[in-house]
Symmetry: C2
Subunit: 164 residues, 2 copies
Amino acid sequence: MKELLRTKGYKATPQRELIFECFLAAGRHITVDELYQKVRLKDSSVGHSTVWRNLKLICKLGLAEEVNLGDGLTRYDRITPEPHGHLYCLECKKLVEFDMAKLLPALNETAQGSRFQPVGFKIEIQGYCDSCGERLGVTGENSYNGSGTKNVGKKERGKNDDLS
Amino acid sequence: MKELLRTKGYKATPQRELIFECFLAAGRHITVDELYQKVRLKDSSVGHSTVWRNLKLICKLGLAEEVNLGDGLTRYDRITPEPHGHLYCLECKKLVEFDMAKLLPALNETAQGSRFQPVGFKIEIQGYCDSCGERLGVTGENSYNGSGTKNVGKKERGKNDDLS
DNA sequence: TTGCAAATGAATGTCGTTTTCATTTGGGCA
DNA sequence: TGCCCAAATGAAAACGACATTCATTTGCAA
């Protein structure tokens, strides 16, 4: 790690090494705050912005990529040998990975005007996993709903004061 | 529109009717602010939060869905007869749609543990369109980059003060 | 050892989303 | 038609995650 950093012209500070170490140890789909918490367990003096900046650096060095699941949080996912996409269950929040290569032929066939190769791009899918789909009655027989969000039910006030 | 609203138990206010009208007139992948601007052209007294709330209501009524392209902006897309996904070019920001049904067989084949039907889910893909892919040399021969972001080059200060 | 660019950490800024709340209003009903 | 009240509105503020600023510290090459 020290070597990689210095080779690329970055200083190997103790904070940086700790952050890299923590990320590589537990770094699948981790958020900034999750990593921040892990780092703080080992050195409570490390700042939030330092974790954030080094997570960006990890991406810049090609060790990870940002993943956007559509829930407003940026996740950082270690780069894997085989490019993969993410299936994100809107119900149980489970994250499933799929092999990118298997999807590409069909993708490029249906997408006129665009050409997707397993280089530098991402596929994020939001839907329902097997068990949740079953439970929710998502069978493919229904008409397309599309909203992709469920109403969970919160407090009541004016009818339009809470659109869940 | 008046009827739909009243049937569902919502009041048909002039603001609401205007917002619905403006959305349906121009509503492919529109942001809250874009719609807000359009609405203001016809009635400059309508508030931002009213537009936001009614956009949510439009989704709740099944007329539109939220789309998250990963650029930090929520877009609202009218529901179409055939479910479709989005290909978002990271370079030229072009948005291409593709037929969801054509992708499903391949998707379900590669995604064990999840079962995706054209009901209530979304596929968002970030990558490069034909022309940008060409220009950037994204040929599929390169190794997987994954970061999905390009360095555009801004001002310089401390090396780590700007991670582009 | 020293000099200085890079890195850090606390604080602050930014920006889109969401909520609060006082006020207004649609529309059911007498 | 007028009344009533829950629903809707609009201005402002709260919120939350991401991003930047800047004074200070520090790694490390010479």
